[in-house]
Symmetry: C2
Subunit: 597 residues, 2 copies
Amino acid sequence: MAESMNGLKRTHRCGELSIANAGETVTIMGWVQKNRNKGGLVFIDVRDRSGIIQVVFEEGSTDAALIEKAARLRSEYVIAIAGTVSKRSGAVNENLATGEIEVIPTELRILSEAETPPFPIEENSKTKEELRLKYRYLDLRRPDLQRNLLLRSRVATLTRQFLSEEGFLEIETPILGKSTPEGARDYLVPSRVHPGQFYGLPQSPQLFKQLLMCSGCDRYFQIAKCFRDEDLRADRQPEFTQIDMELSFVDVDDVIDVNERLLAKLFKDVLGVEVALPIPRMTWQEAMDRYGSDKPDTRFGMELTDVTEVVKDCEFVVFKGAIENGGTVRGINAKGQGGMARKKIDKLVDFAKGFGAKGLAYIAIQEDGNVKSSFAKFMTEAQMNALIRAMNGEAGDLLLFAADKNKVVWDVLGSLRLELARQMELLNKDEYKFLWITEFPLLEWSEEQNRYVAMHHPFTMPMEEDLNYLESDPGRVRAKAYDITLNGNEIGGGSVRIFQDDVQERMFEALGFTKEQAQEQFGFLLDAFKYGVPPHAGLAYGLDRLVMLMAKEDSIRDVMAFPKVKDASCLMTAAPNLVDTKQLDELGLALKEEDLV
Amino acid sequence: MAESMNGLKRTHRCGELSIANAGETVTIMGWVQKNRNKGGLVFIDVRDRSGIIQVVFEEGSTDAALIEKAARLRSEYVIAIAGTVSKRSGAVNENLATGEIEVIPTELRILSEAETPPFPIEENSKTKEELRLKYRYLDLRRPDLQRNLLLRSRVATLTRQFLSEEGFLEIETPILGKSTPEGARDYLVPSRVHPGQFYGLPQSPQLFKQLLMCSGCDRYFQIAKCFRDEDLRADRQPEFTQIDMELSFVDVDDVIDVNERLLAKLFKDVLGVEVALPIPRMTWQEAMDRYGSDKPDTRFGMELTDVTEVVKDCEFVVFKGAIENGGTVRGINAKGQGGMARKKIDKLVDFAKGFGAKGLAYIAIQEDGNVKSSFAKFMTEAQMNALIRAMNGEAGDLLLFAADKNKVVWDVLGSLRLELARQMELLNKDEYKFLWITEFPLLEWSEEQNRYVAMHHPFTMPMEEDLNYLESDPGRVRAKAYDITLNGNEIGGGSVRIFQDDVQERMFEALGFTKEQAQEQFGFLLDAFKYGVPPHAGLAYGLDRLVMLMAKEDSIRDVMAFPKVKDASCLMTAAPNLVDTKQLDELGLALKEEDLV
């Protein structure tokens, strides 16, 4: 039977007590973490959000009935304790923030009993994630997840505080929005008032924030829920959260400036990490050439080297063929890996094939200077030496080469570089390397759709010096777009937006939209632009991923209170679920026959 | 053609300039509010979020080409002006915060031209709301809506700041949730991965926040989007925003304490209004008896008087019949309205009938002491005098009576009281009267469902002293529930929650739930309660309504950036809309034939 709290008022959270409170009468409330009986003593560890404190029931000094009651306590019972804070009679517990003290109880109430939980409430749980997610309310009791929720809350609060001080207004945009066919798949919400019609849940507040700029709001931000009905990967969720912002009367540098100061504040205040400003910038082209990635992890080197010129006359058909097809040959140098076992190298080759490589050529330079290579026989000694020299190859190095179209080469070597860094343990989670990537291509060719598609979105401003190529050589046009990356992760991105009718029209043409299509999908934005629109630009962060990196977790599920699993279901509530036919009738909907099982 | 901003950087917002900036070189950017030509002078009023400033182009001193360009400017063009701040040569404009100064331009760029907007951008627009909502991006340029968005942003920011300081964590709960049949109608989201199954959009984060208390989060808050698929009234929207909170190890007084301080801070910091604490409390019973409402407007008196005892022996069948049927007779005294025209009184009778009254009895006491009454002929003079005395009737008063079941009497007189206050202009928008309503009934009888339903929700804690009546006399049980009201509006409400298995079971029984039904709908919460649950309580505000009252607006649409209209559509984006059959196919859905028009 649960006892009542009446007459008791919590005075402190457990972890708030310290030796400074010695002698004070306090009331704490929380969960039983541990109950130990030892020679007439009962030790109860009480846990709440703030930490753990030990309560000691001692025969002789504590009332006998109280001791008996304490002895009955089991893990996860919720209790209230009134008592006195005392310096520990026993040894100080160095593992506990409150390890110098204990509470000598005068009253114990059992507020709620508890069954044995399906897994222990402890840090770094070994329990299968599936079980933990089913009992998420228990999982969230674990101190690591509690810390993550606290960290996330602090990041959100500090972000809001900073942006408010910078003149941004937080403005809520609709969740029940308009569905558009462009981009990822929308979640749909059937309308009851308009049967046969649907709302779309927003993939981002993009159009609304641009409209707010047309409205003269000047600086907008929102920590906004966004939705994408796509198949989930490790760091994807059907609903996710963006720190979304938009600014009027600004250019690239202004957006970068305010965001650098925001990031510096967050990392300083939350993690105590100093971010040196300005954050380095790199063009997209340089990032691809040096790292094979538009979100390079710059905590380590192992940069790509273009050796096309060096090998262009060799007889190795893989190199030759790639170059003749307009591709390149590039390599990376895995320092000190020259002695790698053949089996392990073969695994790297398989890894590379997973990223589209037809193969992977290598030169393993032994410690004695001898060379093992998959393609030495097709090369002259001079060619080999020139290649090794171009790669700065030294005794003990492993040189790996990919030869293909640029896109494939970058992808393969960029991924291989990261894989090797993992194997070589070059990735330090305590190091935070930020990097801006700028001057992205405006458009990329979609083989699937047989047309150019917007790399960022159709409202991204082309760079003025490239504007002339929009019709003649669209692939060459660079955009005023920028991503902010951290340790090889894109944590945010944005762009300056087109604010001129004529440029927007040319952009739609480049994307193969007819005027009618553009009008149907984005008519209200194009209309808005007729009535005076300020130059504007914006940026959005993936909050989940940012917090994940700050918390040094590997999954965004660990920084969300109630995440969904791969099939987009919630293991705790069992959503989605079946609903009454009556509800579907009201919406004018029917299930297709194959679903009626 | 749009000119570029390049080379210019905004130094100030328009309204930030003052006489203190005189002599400074500045660059402002904004919208042309007005363009006046007068004797060789061109005056341009430039508007941005912060206000308006006048720019003066003068023949002789300003470059001729610039003057010519300025003369071409039309309303809502977006321009950049570089120039010097100067004390006005002409008269000070008292209507303008920047009225003492003007800008003498050296450069003018037209960043964006504008067509003539469909309605003027001005305060207190007379334009039909429908047209304004279609062009919401223009409507939002109006200073009153800009102020409302700013106010809303400040309320949200201050709320977050306050609650963070009080130890609350902001935690996001899912939007894609589980649909439950209890309560209002859910918006549904079809699942693609699980065809035939649906998510429900949350009507509130109620279950999740209680689970967070089970998780030991201790204090949670969220400014949360909520959804209800109900037919809209003036102050309802399909999606709305709650300031939602939940606290562990607390009772009613703790929740009230923290919320009183929150409200006092908001009203002080945003409006400069001092809220005297503690805010008065009134039980539900007293509120109904005195004001006929559970959200009484206490800015004025005109309280209800129960005259059942006084009239119980009279021959007036309306009174007699009501009393015999277990009802009551109550009246209100509209001071000074005794001379009201018969026609106007008839309108009040119609008004009362709209709230379920069969009629409305009245006594109009003329200034000369004569009495006009609809029922005097059924009363003795002594009875009349006693009734007038009971009502504190004086010369010039209008006494109005309703006789029926209590529920009807309260509803009629409560509404009539407000209607009279409007007519008598007793409602002062500058006055803010807060009032807590406590001790609500736990259950109310639903004629429709022929069972008791929860007045608040099924997790509301009964008052301990009434627990014994839960089976024997359920209607009598009061709840640990509370509403906070402001000027006759419920702005928030909450309750202490049941945290004991056995009480929760009895509650479900009282509601007529079978164990299976309870388990199916709320199983995960009941499961969570098995593993140690702290006493907890919470409260949620309707943010839209709160901001509406603070902004002195009459519609929540005026404090939302992009509201929907009565049929739940967005006039600007035309959502909801038709979608591709392919999208429905993916969801395993078909439209019913009648929709295929």
